[in-house]
């Protein structure tokens, strides 16, 4: 089974500081990691490969620093890594990103399954996976939390929507996006890390994608959406009335508020 995993390098969102005065992120305040959801995608791919044989290729679009994320992917079990890096890819929204990834996947040739994380922790859109599926003309299932069965031409997955969980048979080649509930990503060993340090990472630029006169589909040019303004949300004004007294007194005051609001009594 030939599996592709789409990954993104993201800032460590829990650690990154926000500069409220300047109204922007202080990116120097945190390191860069593989998007956590992509680790579940990678783990799923490696588990399938261990069962069926074949190979796992990690693909990422980003600046040259993103090779670190790809090395991490290699240490965690990917066999090959491809970085799509070009100034002309910069400023891409989800559509242009999906276009670039789909273009690289077409160049790679035959594949059976593409796995993505359900979303990234920085962009938080969850759009790139389904958009890649559409551009490649393959079916997809999002929010996969269980893989029941995999054969050469189909995969059976479980995905929860709003009211129901669905068990879906997806024809291959196909794409799935996976949630954190799917598995527990393994940690790379020191040996794996050292091997990944020495591994070759393929870098493709716009020219390598062999797209004729297609610059208008890439990067900022290919992005129909534009961020026009970024601001810190205004703090909501609440009356912040203090309730003081002994515990029983405070409890009585809360009961009074609940009664006045109509949720009690």
């Amino acid at each position: 089974m030939n599996i592709l995993v789409l990954i993104k390098q993201v800032p460590e969102i829990e650690k990154v500081r926000f500069d409220y005065e300047k109204g922007r992120l202080d990116r120097s305040s945190a390191g860069a990691i593989i998007n956590p959801f992509d680790l579940n995608a990678l783990e799923a791919a490696v588990q399938i490969k261990e069962k069926t044989g074949g190979s796992v290729t990690a693909i990422s679009m980003g600046p040259m620093q993103a090779v670190d994320a790809l090395r991490d992917a290699l240490a965690r079990g990917a066999d090959k890594a491809i970085l799509l890096s070009d100034e002309r890819f910069a400023g891409a929204d989800t559509l242009a990103t999906a276009y670039t990834l789909a273009s690289a996947i077409r160049k790679l040739g035959a594949f059976d399954l593409i796995i993505c994380g359900e979303k990234t922790i920085d962009g938080d859109t969850g759009q790139v996976g389904p958009e890649v599926a559409e551009l490649l003309g393959i079916p997809h299932v999002a929010y996969v939390e269980e893989i029941r069965q995999i054969c050469s031409d189909k995969i059976v997955v479980g995905a929860r929507m709003e009211r129901n969980k669905y068990i879906i048979e997806l024809r291959l080649p196909g794409l799935i996006t996976v949630t954190k509930d799917l598995n527990n990503p393994r940690l790379p060993t020191l040996r794996d890390k050292l091997r990944a340090m020495r591994a070759e990472i393929t870098v493709w630029s716009y020219k390598d994608l062999n797209e004729e006169d297609a610059l208008q589909y890439f990067g900022l040019n290919g992005s129909p959406t534009r961020v026009i303004r970024v601001y810190t949300p205004a703090a909501e004004k609440r009356k912040s009335q203090v309730l003081s007294g002994t515990a029983p007194e405070v409890a009585q005051k809360i009961v009074q508020i609940l009664r006045e609001s109509g949720v009690l009594g």
């Binding site: 969102i13 990154v16 926000f18 922007r24 992120l25 929204d93 559509l95 999906a98 962009g123 969850g126 759009q127 389904p130 559409e134 551009l135 079916p139 997809h140 299932v141 999002a142 929010y143 929860r160 929507m161 709003e162 009211r163 129901n164 969980k165 669905y166 068990i167 879906i168 048979e169 997806l170 024809r171 992005s223 129909p224 959406t225 534009r226 961020v227 026009i228 303004r229 970024v230 810190t232 949300p233 703090a235 909501e236 609440r238 009356k239 912040s240 009335q241 203090v242 309730l243 515990a247 029983p248 405070v250 009585q252 809360i254 009961v255 508020i257 609940l258 009664r259 609001s261 949720v263």
Partner: protein
């Protein structure tokens, strides 16, 4: 504005599962109505499923001028490719300026495929929508865990956005409203590459719908203590909520998590015990009607975001509160 398709200014996706309309649909109709009126154009809805004549009429009562109904057994359950094909065909026909979809799991699975097929822009998870002076859609969404807000415009049509559940005002039902239901021809596709083998009810806590939430934070010392929260929530007919650390620690399920990476809630009363109030948490509960906070730390940001607050130990207040509410309940009985 008779039945001219070209006047469809705003199209909304009416989401259904098991034949039941998801409530985000009525919120989309509420916002869509405002936008369509400002554009001087129609508000239309697209509904796919099987046996949904009554539901289509409901959409009109809730504000739609026109409902495009794709009614066919093959559309009974959500099939991404089938849904996409029919909707893309409709959008190419009626050419709406704006196309809104709920940011539910179904909506977020479907919308990107439609956008990629139409080669148009899509903004995820909007919490507000506005029009600029030229009538272009201004899409407002949180970025970076809700620390900042971004305004986004789309230079292609339709301007597509998914909209977060429980942030827009629902429209008001008016059974006297008139509108048209257009029965659309469904082109059955034999094999879309996906087949539903089984369907199981996901009987999970639906915290987004809760009217009362009793939420626990890092101030809780052990997972056993969550039983107090459950007790109070049960007494009030509410649901237990949680901030992220307790979910990460495995003390409580993710379906209870309130915040940017969890659920957005809009209860009548939100009670926060031992929650310091990170921007990520505040993001998920700031639309609550009344917020009551209990925290030992007088500098906790949560206190400034609440209507009423108590500087005190939740281990003293919570049992006492349960006691007082039991008293009220007993007197009434």
């Amino acid at each position: 504005m008779s039945d001219e398709c070209s006047f469809c200014g705003v199209l909304i996706f009416a989401e259904q599962e098991d034949g039941e309309i998801h409530k985000v649909t009525y919120e989309l109709l509420g916002k869509g109505r405002v936008l369509a009126d400002r554009l001087g154009k129609n508000l239309c809805a697209v509904l796919l499923g099987y046996g949904l004549d009554d539901e289509a009429r409901e959409l009109i009562y809730y504000g739609a001028d026109k409902v495009f109904l794709f009614d066919h057994p093959s559309l009974k359950d959500f099939d991404i490719v089938r849904y996409k094909q029919n909707i893309v065909r409709l959008v190419n026909e009626v050419k709406p300026d704006i196309f809104l979809i709920g940011a539910t799991r179904i909506g977020r699975s479907l919308a990107p495929r439609i956008a990629a097929s139409l080669k148009t822009g899509l903004t995820a998870d909007c919490v507000d929508l506005d029009l600029d002076n030229e009538g272009n859609l201004v899409q407002i969404r949180p970025a970076f865990s809700g620390n900042i807000m971004a305004q986004i415009k789309t230079r292609t049509k339709p301007q597509m956005a998914t909209v977060r559940y429980k942030v827009m005002k629902m429209s008001i039902r008016d059974p006297a409203r008139r509108g048209g239901v257009v029965e659309m021809k469904v082109e059955p596709v034999k094999n879309t590459g996906m087949k539903i083998l089984e369907k199981e009810k996901a009987d999970e806590v639906n915290i987004s719908e809760a009217e009362i939430i009793v939420a626990a934070g890092r101030g809780v010392k052990s997972p056993e203590d969550l039983r107090l929260f459950k007790e109070l929530a049960d007494l009030l007919g509410g649901v237990v909520g949680s901030s992220r650390p307790l979910v990460d620690a495995g003390w409580i399920g993710k379906e209870h998590q309130v915040g940017f990476s969890g659920n957005t809630v809009k209860p009548r009363v939100y009670m926060a015990f031992g929650i310091s109030g990170s921007p990520q948490h505040l993001f998920g509960m700031r639309y609550s009607d009344i917020i009551i906070a209990v925290n030992k730390d007088p500098t906790a940001p949560m206190l400034n975001f609440s209507d009423y607050y108590v500087i005190g130990d939740l281990y003293e207040i919570l049992p006492q509160l349960i006691h007082e509410i039991r008293k009220v309940r007993c007197v009434e009985k």
